[in-house]
Symmetry: C2
Subunit: 407 residues, 2 copies
C-alpha cells in the first residue's frame, strides 16, 4: 500500500497550484502525519518534490510548503496523425515546454518512422532541456494498436502500415523508453491529467482529426478497453441518405463527418471546386481549411456543410452519452478550433434533446483544456503517469539523491 | 484499508467452491498470515464465515477450511418488467433459493407497487427462510432512474409512471432496506457476481426484454454511469429502411428489434395474423411467443423475421464492442431463450466481421450464466454486495456473535 499512498501524495501535490504543507497533505489524503512525513521524505530523495518556502496560517509554527520540482524530469509526446505530426515536451507538472508541427511525409512506414525520430530529437534540442532528464517518449497513434506487441495494426488511414513495430523502432532510434497509446485515448488522458476542478467527472472525449474517434473517462480512470483499442466509433450510422461505406452500411460517421467526407460533399454540391489533385491527407487538409475559412467568412453554403455535419455528429455523440451516461462531452483534436463555432451552435442542444436522462440533468459540452495538441500532450502525460507511479520512478530516476544525503 | 482487505478475503472465500484454508487465503490475496487470521476471525464473529472441516495436503498440520455460512443471510431480488414481474431469493453465496413469476398487472403505479410488495412477501414465505435473515430487497427496474431520489422517472415502457418513489413505497410496505438499480445494470451485476473463471474480463451484456438495453463490466466493476443510467442503446440506427421512431430517426433499435417491433413486422408481412386486441405488454408477449414457436417449428417466414432482427441487432452490438473494446458479449433477459437459436446462428459472425480489432482477436458471444431471471438475480446480488461490504455488514448483521464468544 505504500506505493499507492505515494502516488496519492504526489498527485495531490501536483494538482495543487500553490503547493501543500505536510499537514494539508494529511488532511486531503486522509493519511497519518507520520505516513505523510515518510512519503514526502522519499519523494524529496527521489528529486520529485522540493520544499518551497514557508507559510504562516493562524497560530502554530510556520508550515513548509512542498511543491513539485517540475524541471527535474521531462516527457516527450508525439502524435502521429496521417496529415500532421505533433511533438511536445512537457515538464513534470505537465506544463508545455516546447512544441512543433511537421507535415507527415508521404511514403513508407520506415520513412515516416525516421521522420518521427528526427522530430523527437529536434523538439528536445529546441526545448533547451538536458536530454538526460527526458524520462521517455509517448506516441499517440491511430488504432488499432497491438498493445502486447507494441505495434500499429493496419490503421485505416495510414496506407501500407501493417503491424509496424513502432515502439521498438523509435526506442532503438532514440535510446529512450517509448509508450504507445491510441490517439483518442491519449487525448482523454491529457484532459484527465490537466483537469483540476472536475477530476472525478466522467466524460466522452470526441477527437476530431483525420478520422473521428472517442475517448472515455470515469472516476479518475481512462477506459482503454481490454486490447487498448476503445473508442472506435466510425461506423455509427448518422445519415440514412449518406454515401456508402466500406463496412457495408450507408451514412457511417466515417463517410459523413470526417474532413475528407465534408470536402467531398462540398465538392459534390459545388461549394468547393473539384480541383484536388489527390485525396492524400495533406491535400484534404488544405481543402478542408478552405471550406472552414469560407464558412467563417459568411459563405452560407459552406456553413451549411459544416452545420449538417454537426447535426450528424450529434447523432453519434448521443449514442455514446446515452450508452455510458457521462457528465460531459469534451471536443478536441486538430480540427476542433476550425469547427468549434459551427459545432457549438448545433451540437449541445441536439445532444440534450436526444439524452435519455434529460429529465434529470443537462450534458455540458466544451472544448479541450489542452487545445489542438491534446493527443501529443496526452502521449507525454502517459509517460508522466509512469514517472509518478512508484515502480517507474525508481527505474527512471537514476540520479536520485541517495538516502543518507538527505535523511 | 482493513475494510477493503475484508472484502477481498470474503470475495475469495465466496468464489472458491470448496472453501479455502487461511494459508491459501494468504496466497491468493497477498495478505500477511496475521492479517488473514485477524480478518477471518472477524468474519466468523459476524457470522458470515464458518469453519468447515480440515484438509491434509502434504506435510505439516491439517488446514482448517473456511466457507461461507450461506444460510446466514438472504437477499430478495425483484425485476419489474412491463410484461412480467420476477421475484427471487438468493442465499449469501448467491445461490437461488426460490423464484416466482407474476404477470405485471395493468393499472396505476400504486396498483403495481402493491403487487410488487405482495410478491416480495410471497417469495419469502415460499422459500421457507427466516424473514429476520433477509438483508434487503433489490429492485431492477426500467430506466431512467433517479438514483439520488430513488425514483423511476418516466420510463418509456411503463405508461403513466412519472417520478414514482418506488424505493420508499416498497421500503414502507416491507420494512426492509430497498435498493433500486436499472434492470440492465442489475443483469451485468449478476453475471459479474456469478462469474468465477473470467472475473476480470470486460463484457457487454445485451438485455432482451420488453425493451433492449445494455450493461457493461470492466475489471471487476460494473459501469453504472454517473446518474446510474448507463446502457440506453435504443436509438442506435440499425435499419435505414426501418420504421420511423419517436426520436425523429428511422430504424432505431427500439423500433426494429424489440419483441413489439418484431410482432408488428410479422403482422405487416402477414406472417402473423393482425388479430391483436391491444398493444399492451401482455398481448405483445403472447404474440411474440407465437412467432418464436412458429420459427422453431420450421416456418421459414417467421424464422426470417427473427434472423433479420438478429442481423440488425448485430449492427448495434458492434457499435458497443468497438466503442468499449470488450472481451465478450453476453446475452440475457426474459426473451433470450426464445431467440438464442436464431441469434447465435447470425450474431457472432456479424460482430466479428464488424470488429475494429478483428486482426487481433475474436469476440466470443454467449448466453447469461444466470438465465432468464438475470435481472432479478442481479438485483438480489446488489443487496449481497452491500452485505459483503464491511460498512454494511455491521449495519445488517445485528445478530452477529459478540467478540468474546469466539475470540
Amino acid at each position: 500500500m505504500g506505493d499507492f499512498n505515494q502516488s496519492v501524495i504526489l498527485e495531490a501535490i501536483r494538482r495543487s497550484v500553490a503547493g501543500l504543507s505536510r499537514i494539508e497533505l494529511a488532511q486531503v489524503t486522509g493519511l497519518s502525519a507520520q505516513a505523510v512525513t515518510n512519503i514526502t521524505r522519499r519523494l524529496m530523495q527521489l528529486g520529485l518534490v522540493v520544499e518551497a518556502g514557508r507559510t504562516i496560517t493562524g497560530p502554530g509554527k510556520p508550515r513548509t510548503i512542498l511543491k513539485l520540482d517540475a524541471s527535474r524530469r521531462f516527457a516527450v509526446g508525439v502524435h502521429l496523425d496521417p496529415a500532421v505530426m505533433t511533438f511536445v515536451v512537457l515538464d513534470l507538472a505537465g506544463e508545455l515546454v516546447s512544441q512543433a508541427h511537421v507535415h507527415t511525409p508521404v511514403g513508407s512506414a520506415t520513412h515516416i518512422i525516421e521522420a518521427i525520430a528526427s522530430g523527437i530529437e529536434a523538439v528536445i534540442t529546441e526545448s533547451g532541456i538536458d536530454r538526460a532528464r527526458v524520462a521517455g517518449v509517448g506516441v499517440a497513434s491511430p488504432g488499432p494498436i497491438d498493445a502486447a506487441l507494441a505495434t500499429i495494426v493496419d490503421p485505416p488511414k495510414l496506407l501500407g502500415w501493417h503491424r509496424v513495430p513502432l515502439k521498438q523502432a523509435l526506442s532503438d532510434a532514440s535510446g529512450l523508453p517509448v509508450h504507445l497509446e491510441k490517439d483518442t485515448t491519449a487525448a482523454a488522458v491529457a484532459e484527465l491529467w490537466r483537469e483540476t476542478e472536475h477530476a472525478n467527472s466522467s466524460f466522452v472525449f470526441v477527437y476530431l482529426g483525420t478520422g473521428i474517434g472517442a475517448g472515455f473517462a470515469m472516476q479518475y480512470e481512462v477506459i482503454r478497453g481490454s486490447s487498448h483499442n476503445a473508442g472506435e466509433i466510425g461506423h455509427i450510422v448518422v445519415d440514412r441518405d449518406g454515401p456508402p461505406c466500406a463496412c457495408g452500411q450507408r451514412g457511417c460517421l466515417d463517410v459523413v463527418c470526417t474532413p475528407q467526407a465534408m470536402v467531398e460533399k462540398a465538392e459534390r454540391l459545388g461549394v468547393l471546386q473539384d480541383s484536388r489533385v489527390g485525396s492524400d491527407a495533406e491535400s484534404v487538409d488544405e481543402r478542408f481549411r478552405e471550406l472552414c475559412a469560407r464558412s467563417h467568412d459568411g459563405d452560407t453554403r459552406a456553413l451549411a456543410v459544416l452545420e449538417d455535419s454537426a447535426a450528424q455528429l450529434s447523432v453519434a455523440i448521443a449514442v455514446l452519452t446515452n450508452m455510458l451516461d457521462v457528465d460531459r462531452v469534451i471536443f478536441g483534436g486538430p480540427y476542433w478550433t476550425l469547427l468549434s463555432e459551427a459545432y457549438m451552435r448545433i451540437i449541445p442542444a441536439r445532444i440534450y434533446a436526444q439524452s435519455a436522462t434529460r429529465a434529470l440533468r443537462s450534458v455540458p459540452v466544451s472544448g479541450a483544456i489542452s487545445g489542438e495538441d491534446v493527443a501529443a500532450i496526452g502521449a507525454a502525460c502517459v509517460v508522466l503517469d509512469e514517472v509518478y507511479s512508484p515502480r517507474a520512478s525508481t527505474l527512471y530516476l537514476d540520479d536520485a539523491v541517495p538516502e543518507d544525503a538527505n535523511g
